[in-house]
């Protein structure tokens, strides 16, 4: 535990990415050179990569510990928690110092102490926990409680863990990224052997050997946010790019290996069971193939159609009804059938082809998809497979016009993929501008809203009023009795400096405090952006917005000039999103 606590402290006190990576690399190299510590290192990787074991200690017991071991009343412990914003840290700060006992390795903590805990009676669990904490040196407590809550909040990304491991193993990052997939799943109990497998030398034919149908690390797009006029200069000609729609679905990889198939979401969750509709497609694929694409709900019209026709594409709201379901009824399968819109091919015939250029992979993908569809048709079968249509236009201005039309089609914008680019790992910031995926999204819808409630945040924003509730006016200024109606919460979009300033204003304009929440005098107007808007019976405002975020602090605007419910309602889709594309470049775009 000491090694983990030391690493945690080092990561916590390092602000630069370089320093964090160095700290991790040092810890992993230690385990590489000392087999006795590999079991603990396996767990370190697990936690740093975002692994959370199934709840070992329920929050209820953590609170009991806070209250009983500190000797303070529960309300005071809660006050402390709201001030700290992190339960693990609150406990570490609240509990009295104990008498340090012997050092126990992280692996022993996990395997011998914590993982068996859920099987015990509650009082026995509590008694053990209290005794262990008493024996823990004060400087290991924070790390210990962090293990239990599983929220490390130490500012380490998975990509950094991958880089540090790759450095220690002396192998390529892309290979390490693939090895680590699935490593941090909830139920896993990593062992010394797992750590050894991570840092082992590259074996011949490793890609195919990595069975269990593991996906490849998803290549993520960066956001293109600069004006159209700069595109030609920065990006060159549109013909240098493979341009596609950005779909509002679930990004997924379909992996067919041998007789097995697996569907993985971008969060590296295995979701095959939730989408049995894709089984016939997976079976129809040649063995050892990995497709990357978007999962959508689609009601295919009768009759033949080109492989890249998107007729019958339903809005995201339909897909939402299928999310999070473990068991899917026959009725749901019939009413909300999914299709897989593919846009990349990362493995073909067992070969990792991520290094091939985008246009080459796409050509192979099109060949494969056409072939599979044709074979199915010959069998009289319709597969839920679509090829993502490409979009073409002579210049960026024309593409911009097409992009603006995306909303009417229920799409999020356009994707720009460098023709010559490889399939990378994760999201690269900066780097080579011609070897990237850009997402060129629609400008969000926005309204000017008034801040009316604020709540203290968590993690990096703990203790600061950073979570806001916004309202719009029920009517225009001509109605004296109008009131502010809350319609959205937002946490992101302002800089740290602005947030501190906002925090100061909130404290000075507080009307009432309810636990962690304050109501404030309406004095601040924020331009609030969102990706979508739907009618809703559950909200007093009658609307629900998607992905609300703060775009701009309107210091220039008095509260009286903020927007009204009516201006929000005007943004509602006039009628359900059209299934058939209107003016579309879907057809013949290839």
């Amino acid at each position: 535990m000491k090694a983990f606590a030391d690493l945690y402290r080092r990561l916590d006190s390092a602000t630069s990415t370089r320093a964090k990576q160095a700290a991790m690399a040092e810890a992993f190299a230690g385990a590489r050179d000392d087999p006795g510590t590999r079991g603990s290192a396996a767990w370190m990787v697990y936690f740093l990569a975002g692994g959370k074991p199934r709840q070992i200690v329920p929050t209820r017991l953590m609170w009991r510990l806070a209250v009983e071991a500190s000797g303070y009343p529960e309300w005071l412990c809660e006050e402390c928690y709201h001030s700290v914003g992190d339960l693990a840290e609150t406990l570490a700060l609240l509990l009295p110092e104990g008498v340090a006992g012997e050092e126990i390795s992280l692996e022993a903590w996990m395997r011998q102490r914590l993982l068996p805990l859920p099987a015990l009676e509650e009082d026995e669990r509590y008694a053990r926990l209290e005794r262990w904490v008493d024996e823990l040196p004060a400087d290991q407590r924070l790390a210990f409680f962090k293990l239990i809550t599983g929220e490390l909040r130490v500012g380490v990304s998975r990509l950094q863990v991958v880089k540090a491991l790759a450095e220690v193993a002396g192998i390529e990052e892309s290979r390490m990224a693939q090895r680590i997939i699935g490593y941090a799943q909830a139920r896993r109990t990593p062992s010394a052997e797992d750590f050894e497998a991570l840092i082992a030398e590259v074996a011949h034919g490793e890609a195919a050997a990595l069975d269990a149908g593991r996906p490849y690390p998803f290549y993520l797009a960066q956001s293109w946010q600069r004006p159209v006029v700069e595109m030609a200069e920065t990006l060159g000609l549109p013909s240098d790019w493979v341009i596609e729609w950005k779909f509002d679905g679930i990004r997924a990889q379909l992996v067919r290996r041998g007789d097995n198939w697996r569907l993985w979401s971008r969060g590296e969750e295995l979701i095959s069971d939730a989408y049995p509709d894709l089984e016939p497609l997976a079976r129809a694929l040649p063995p050892d193939t990995t497709l990357d694409g978007e999962l959508v709900v689609m009601h295919p019209p009768p009759g033949a159609r080109p492989a890249d026709s998107l007729d019958g594409l339903a809005p995201f709201a339909s897909l939402q009804q299928r999310l999070g379901r473990k068991v899917v009824s026959a009725k749901t399968l019939k009413e909300l059938p999914v299709a897989f819109i593919v846009y990349d091919l990362v493995e073909l015939d067992g070969q990792d082809i991520r290094g091939e250029p985008q246009h080459g992979r796409r050509a192979s993908l099109a060949r494969l998809a056409e072939e599979v569809l044709a074979q199915a048709q010959a069998r009289g079968e319709r597969l839920p497979l679509r090829i993502s249509p490409t979009v073409t236009a002579p210049d960026w201005e024309a593409l911009d016009a097409i992009r603006v039309g995306a909303r009417a089609l229920g799409r999020e914008g356009l994707m720009l993929k460098a023709r010559g680019g490889a399939y990378g790992v994760g999201r690269r910031k900066g780097g080579d501008r011609t070897n990237v995926w850009w997402k060129w999204k629609l400008d969000p819808m926005s309204v000017d809203a008034v801040l009316i409630y604020a709540q203290r945040g968590h993690g990096r924003r703990s203790g600061v009023y950073s979570d806001y509730t916004f309202a719009v006016w029920s009517a225009g200024e001509e109605v004296p009795s109008r009131e502010l109606i809350p319609f959205a919460k937002a946490y992101s979009g302002v800089s740290d400096a602005e947030m501190r300033e906002m925090d100061f204003i909130i404290r000075r304009t507080t009307v009432e405090t309810f636990g962690p929440v304050r109501s404030v005098q309406p004095t601040q107007v924020i331009e609030l952006g969102f990706e979508g808007i739907q009618p809703s019976n559950r909200h007093r405002s009658g609307v629900a917005v998607r992905f609300p975020r703060m775009l701009r602090w309107r210091r220039d605007k008095p509260v009286s000039e903020a927007d009204t419910l009516e201006s929000l309602r005007q943004l509602l889709p006039a009628k359900p999103v059209e299934r058939r594309a209107g003016r579309s470049s879907d057809e013949g775009a290839n």
């Binding site: 840290e89 700060l93 909040r153 300033e501 925090d503």
Partner: protein, 340 residues
């Protein structure tokens, strides 16, 4: 009527017709200490401890000030007024008010640990105690000063060895001098921001021994990379800080006890060093007064008062004041002003 009552200008004693640490201009202002949230410009007359006076003059220019030594009794309309060490910063005082056998003490800001600079906190008996409560939550428990200073020295040494300056932010009045007076000045040169140096001058004149603090432009460039730089939080990421090239930065404050407070500032390190009492300090100071009535004034006033009522059976209440958590609030205010 109570001897001291809260008003919209500040704590007021009707019997003696004076205010304590008023936040609006008044005819007669008794000042516990010279921090900006306790001593404000505009009153006709200030009454304070003698070592506070030079700081007030530095801040306000030529204003009328009467002073008293610690323990000296001033009499006004039959009200006995005396100043007693609060251990917060140079010249900081608790103000004791005695009238017709009743004793009230207004603590101002205080800490119990000796810092080697300010006169050590003097426990007083009182019927009613008006206490600060900046860190009135049990998560705030300070380590001994020597331990924290050793951590600061280790950080400085490490930076000096790596050839980068160590920028330590902290309140310019009090915190900086506390660090200066106790730190091992042999590690490298110590350079101070102008706001800090102005206060150093006053501390030295009051007889506090501080190591030499040359101006940044008087120190050789190579030497600067081994320097400890003391600056107020407002200098964070400022053009002024750029002159030190590559540096590591840290903030010395009680608020650094909570990780989020450090992390969202993007600081390399946070040292938990406060001139305020921690939770055990507040509770023991309050109990030592023997007061049955307690008024908590700022910071975590509400939870502290509730705890005292429910767990200590004291008649404890919150007095709404405009005293801030000076380290936090003045910083936020400065940023708010800068942004406008």
């Amino acid at each position: 009527m109570d001897l001291i009552v809260p008003t919209d200008r500040g704590l007021y004693c009707a019997a003696g017709d004076f205010y304590i640490d008023p936040w609006r201009p008044v005819p007669r202002a008794l000042i516990t200490h010279a921090h900006g949230d306790h001593a404000r410009f505009g009153s006709d007359l200030y009454v304070c401890h003698e070592t506070s006076a030079p700081i007030l003059k530095k801040r306000f220019g030529d204003v009328r000030i009467e002073t008293a030594a610690y323990g000296e009794i001033l009499n006004r309309n039959g009200v006995e007024i005396s100043f007693h060490p609060a251990g917060h910063i140079l010249g900081s005082a608790q103000i004791r008010i005695a009238y017709r056998g009743e004793v009230w003490v207004a603590s101002g800001d205080y800490k119990l640990e000796r810092d080697g600079v300010s006169a050590p906190f003097e426990p007083l008996r009182a019927h009613a105690f008006i206490t600060e409560s900046t860190f009135g939550l049990p998560i705030y428990r300070w380590r001994p000063q020597a331990e924290t200073l050793a951590a600061i020295e280790a950080w400085w040494r490490g930076n000096a060895a790596a050839g980068r300056a160590s920028l330590l932010f902290g309140y310019a009045l009090g915190k900086a001098q506390r660090v200066l007076a106790s730190i091992d000045a042999g590690i490298g040169p110590i350079v101070c921001h102008g706001a800090v140096e102005a206060m150093n001058v006053i501390y030295r004149e009051a007889g506090v021994a501080l190591p030499p603090t040359p101006r940044a432009d008087a120190v050789d460039k190579a030497e600067l990379r081994r320097a400890l730089v003391l600056a107020p939080p407002a200098a964070y990421a400022s053009p002024w800080a750029k002159r030190f090239g590559e540096y590591s930065d840290a903030l010395a404050s009680g608020f650094m006890q909570v990780r989020g407070n450090r992390r969202r500032r993007g600081l390399d390190r946070g040292f938990v060093l406060s001139d305020h009492a921690d939770w055990p300090g507040l509770i023991s100071a309050i109990e030592a007064t023997g007061a049955t009535r307690v008024f908590a004034t700022h910071g975590a006033a509400a939870p502290l008062a509730r705890f005292l009522r429910e767990q200590k059976s004291l008649d404890a209440r919150v007095y709404a004041t405009a005293y801030g958590e000076e380290e936090e609030t003045t910083e936020a205010a400065a940023q708010a002003e800068a942004a406008q």
